[in-house]
Amino acid sequence: MSAAEHPLSGTGTGIGLRQPHYREVFERRPELAFLEVHSENFFLEGGASMHALERARAAYPISLHGVGLSLGSADRLADEHLAKLKRLVDRVEPALVSEHLCWGAVGGTHFNDLLPLPHTVQTLELLARRVDHVQSVLKRRILVENLSAYVEFRDSDMTETAFLAELARRTGCGLLLDVNNLYVNAINFGFDPVARLAELDGSAIGEVHLAGHAVVDDCLVDTHGSLVCDPVWALYAETCRRFGPKPTLIEWDTDLPALDVLLSEATRANALASHASEVAHA
């Protein structure tokens, strides 16, 4: 079974497939547009996890979401990591492959986190080279996701959305618009998220993420451990009005709830997306 047999339609919602839900997903086969997994959890040669992914791809389009490639590391791109990703992409033939606009490693130390970059011309040139390289190795388009961040660089001279729009224009990559991340940053850094949407070219957006966050003192922290909050739903509706419906993921990684909670969030996203596009096209 390949991506060609499981094309991802323009609309519809998927969920992150996490180990505690494997059995229930395979038995119930809920109606979902796709399943997304973290690429790095499947860099294994074989065994139970790889078998589960094989079962998942037989039933659903798969989205591979990378958290460890560290596209923005100034000193090097980890070729060995990219080689593992390529092996997985060749094996799974996913509908989508995505990475983050971030760095995570320097000088041989990996923080296994999504760390922010200054949005400068220098960074843009580096990222464009890296995305070109990754797309040529993988022989496919990737999506690059906007980040949630807790600090900003003084020398950033463009917004993250303007940076991503230009990265997509230069490299042909797509964008993964994480609406929760955009909202988290809007609160943390004090900007209008709707104005940022206006900087994006909707045709470049290949996927949307929705997730919950936590409030820690004066900061929103992207935890993927709770329900999508109302302001993020509102921003999602605005995204759908502006750009039309996009494949959308309910992303939940910590304090994983019952599968039905994810499915009900997915149902809500579907309803919002179809309502918003009806309004937009009325």
């Binding site: 294994l44 996890s49 560290s70 760095w103 320097v106 130390t109 600090v151 003084r154 004066d218």
Partner: protein, 256 residues
């Protein structure tokens, strides 16, 4: 140094050592107090990533020492041995050496060997699936050639030798274990780690079998491995061991 590299080196320094925060403040917006509060979130993520990865690889040690103490172990281990890969399943390969040297766990001198066992289990879990192999091939080897057979063992198969009862400790901490919990500390055990289908088995391995398997896993021909086992353990029963290994599909080929 290009500016982006300097920024990332300073950022990394501040995450690993709070004393080095001033170096990154010059790059970041906001006052020192804000930067310090926000970097604390990233420092928390860093330790959480180590804890999560080690918890996944070392679930028995986590149960034995408790989750709070384990979190402290993860923090200390990461301080000395930070991750070097974006693939966290590789993180923690040297946890056994850390435990053997860490002064606050010297009362549990068997933790290091237990860590070796859990790492072997962790590796076996994601090892390649064993190829199908027809054991009848063994019967077609001419008698004169049998001593030269080199077995191909199923990926993930490993031995862990200890002067402590690590198999017993591992077994009583498995989910669903319903037996009694006594441990006789005065015994040595060799653990045989092997994938059966998608399940990783840990079993105690008899002393003669362990000598044979250690040699054979390292690539020794059957004759040499068997001679080594018989020399040290005259009761070693090659036919019985091979019968069990073939039945369990641990042998999955013959190497030239």
């Amino acid at each position: 140094m290009p500016e982006l590299l300097a920024q990332q080196a300073d950022f990394a320094g501040a995450l690993r050592d709070r004393e080095r925060t001033p170096a990154v403040e010059r790059w970041l917006a906001g006052d020192a107090a804000l930067v310090d509060r926000r970097l604390a979130i990233y420092r928390g993520n860093m330790v959480a990533a180590a804890d999560k990865a080690l918890s996944s690889a070392y679930p028995v040690i986590r149960q034995v020492v408790g989750m709070e103490f384990f979190h402290g172990l993860a923090r200390e281990f990461q301080r000395g041995t930070p991750s070097t890969s974006g693939d966290l399943t590789e993180f923690g390969a040297s946890f056994h050496a850390f435990l053997e040297a860490f002064e606050h766990v010297q009362a549990m001198p068997w933790l290091g060997d237990l860590a070796r066992l859990e790492w072997a289990v962790h590796r076996a879990y994601g090892a390649a699936d064993a190829p199908d192999w027809d054991a009848a091939a063994l019967g077609t080897v001419a008698p004169d050639d049998q001593a030269a057979i080199r077995f191909q063992w199923a990926p993930g198969t490993a031995l862990v030798t200890s002067r402590f009862p690590i198999v017993r400790v591992w077994t009583i901490h498995q989910p669903g274990y319903a037996g009694e919990f006594s441990v006789s500390w005065e015994c040595t055990e060799t653990a045989l780690v092997a994938r059966r289908g998608f399940v990783v088995d840990v079993a105690e391995c008899a002393a003669g079998d362990a000598v044979f398997l250690e040699a054979s896993l390292a690539g020794a021909p059957l004759g040499d491995a068997a001679a080594a086992a018989l020399e040290r353990h005259p009761d070693f029963d090659l036919a019985a061991l091979l019968g069990r290994a073939v039945a369990a599909r641990l042998v999955c080929g013959l190497n030239p």
